[in-house]
Symmetry: C2
Amino acid sequence: MTQASICTIGDEILIGQILDTNSSVIARTLEENGVMVTRMLSIGDDHDTIIDNLRNELEHNQIVISTGGLGPTKDDITKAALAELSGSKGYVMNEPQLEIVHRILKARGLDVLDINRAQALVPDTCEVIPNQKGTAPVMVFRFPEERFGHPATLYSLPGVPFEAIGALPDVVSDIKSHNPLSDIFHKCIMVSGMAESALSKKIEDWEDNLPSDMHLAYLPNQLTGVRLRLSIYGGNREEEEKRIDEEFAKLRPILGDMIYSYQDDTLQNALGSLFRGTGMTISAAESCTGGMIASLITSVPGASEYFLGSVTSYAIAVKQRVLDVHPDDIISYGVVSSEVAAAMADGVRKLTGSTYAVATTGLAGPGGDDRNPVGTVWIGLSGPNGTTTLTKVFKNDRKTNIERFSSAAIDALRLFVLNDLKH
Amino acid sequence: MTQASICTIGDEILIGQILDTNSSVIARTLEENGVMVTRMLSIGDDHDTIIDNLRNELEHNQIVISTGGLGPTKDDITKAALAELSGSKGYVMNEPQLEIVHRILKARGLDVLDINRAQALVPDTCEVIPNQKGTAPVMVFRFPEERFGHPATLYSLPGVPFEAIGALPDVVSDIKSHNPLSDIFHKCIMVSGMAESALSKKIEDWEDNLPSDMHLAYLPNQLTGVRLRLSIYGGNREEEEKRIDEEFAKLRPILGDMIYSYQDDTLQNALGSLFRGTGMTISAAESCTGGMIASLITSVPGASEYFLGSVTSYAIAVKQRVLDVHPDDIISYGVVSSEVAAAMADGVRKLTGSTYAVATTGLAGPGGDDRNPVGTVWIGLSGPNGTTTLTKVFKNDRKTNIERFSSAAIDALRLFVLNDLKH
């Protein structure tokens, strides 16, 4: 299997000033394309350090991807190190990248200075993949077998995340056209409402009976639930994807509507899919989630088609005055209660005139008591066929509890609407 | 200077399934305590790989911190590799950690099985720092000078972030008591409303005139602005901190209220500081920010003291019906306008009875037109002394624009209230 190493260059990573997010995205992309990542490392902006480390990685891998150190300022020295490592005799101007430099600076209303033009200068030992999103191009250095005992290629990418990630498809194409990669096919489904460990127990039999050439991965996320991914190496794409679909189809009777998408997706987008083009609308009333449900729903482009709005009712007076929650309910049952969650959902639905509404009231922490321990949330759901509530308890810190409350509420609304659509 | 390397162990990092956030926090903590991080690397769960890599890092550094691979399941093999690397002859039970294992499992209502007890077993070559937050302890291996040519210490931490970060203070204490660290002093101020590059230009003279023993770092963040940090190595803490304070004091006439805190902080917390204990209250009306302003304000524990609530008015009908925005204003000026931003702020202030209110209307994208290009936001501010508006244009993607709109709105409200307090 083709092996790769990912190397991040920059002092700002080593002092913890910047979190390296590029490596993780590059690793996932390589893995999904059948390349095995053996090591990831971060090193400083030092000439000898860069050369020594990249040489060592090239000795142990067919592919090395470096990011960073390509900026125009004097502390960015990757290019000179790469020139020396590759035995370059000089620099050449890359005309396609120079055009991009001119275009980008013009769009920003800036003059093109020598320091900018120099961004398109590359060692004469490399090929160039033009970088449409920034001034520094991707440089490709191909080393013959005699240099490191195997053919090896070094890709030098910019460090700015949207430039590095933007260049990835071209880099992957180049890797594929130069290396004997076994094809790899993946498909995903998204599962809500269950932790990884509980899900793994529930689908244990299914997992044990998977064909031996299929590989299963659990990819959990606080806000989107668990992404289940099946992979197969080699074979015919159409046939293999059909085989994967057949295995996922067997999960349907086990997991039902907990499967919310058959591709990489989010709960708020799955919710949007139920509403788009139907004329039905949503509103929300939030207490403990403090606006995060609205924020998640409106993170989907085009949400204005079905999301009318929301009320964050942190104060009891706002619950009463704006959402029309009856003071007696608050006194009798407490703010964190099924009755208040239901009244909030009904209240915001009436206020906005939406088809459906979701509401939350709970304790994200700190605090809590015997009746409502910290981490308790009541979710209210209101729709044309009535109102219902449910409760959940999470045991995390304030920030994580708010995230889990919000994603649980969006998922509860999705299941509530799905149920109506079935009857 | 004492040098350190950070090594993350786990296949899940190399396939891009998990983003390694531990290394960045550990690097920042070491740097703040006068230890220089020379390299960070991530490797897989393989016995020989772990031994080879850790040996190599120990040859080049006095301190190596590894995280991960200490779980109870069979794919976690770090402990066996460390036993071999350190020449251990067997395992011993660490009683303080065993007590913690019992306590943790009891709290979860679980029986203590052999697999759990084994978490407290450690190689006889290590010292233990008990881990109060998880079942696997921190193991400390001290290697004598003859082994690697210099005294070297390996700290093995659990991979779960809150356990790894939770153990850091004890690890730092141990490092300090065993290594001749030069003292280092840091102080921060937080600056809002300016990009790093513009800020750097504005304070260029100040920066050029800093005493030569002071080091300045810019630590920018989308939501909190720029953190400026001054550091001094060596000297007397009290005196050096006083010298740093004097330098920061010189920034006050240049930056004014753009300095929102003299310690690591967030805008929403600085806003909260203005309101806590005053009886004054806040509400918000959000269009393009979709709930994020409320979500940020309520992320501060205790925000219920001063945050009454908010309305997310995505639909025009909600702007009119709930916030009492006049239809003529929307027709004459458009939804994204100074007039509508002002009317929304006044509307939500009246609705909730809050002392102050902030409102947003804008275009996060996609879309936009000549009058209101994508990235435009109007911010409305309403208070006891009147109503005002301002506009900003950002050029990012939808997600980042929403974040920048939200933090600009919170900052605008902070400055609006500050101005009232001065008059």
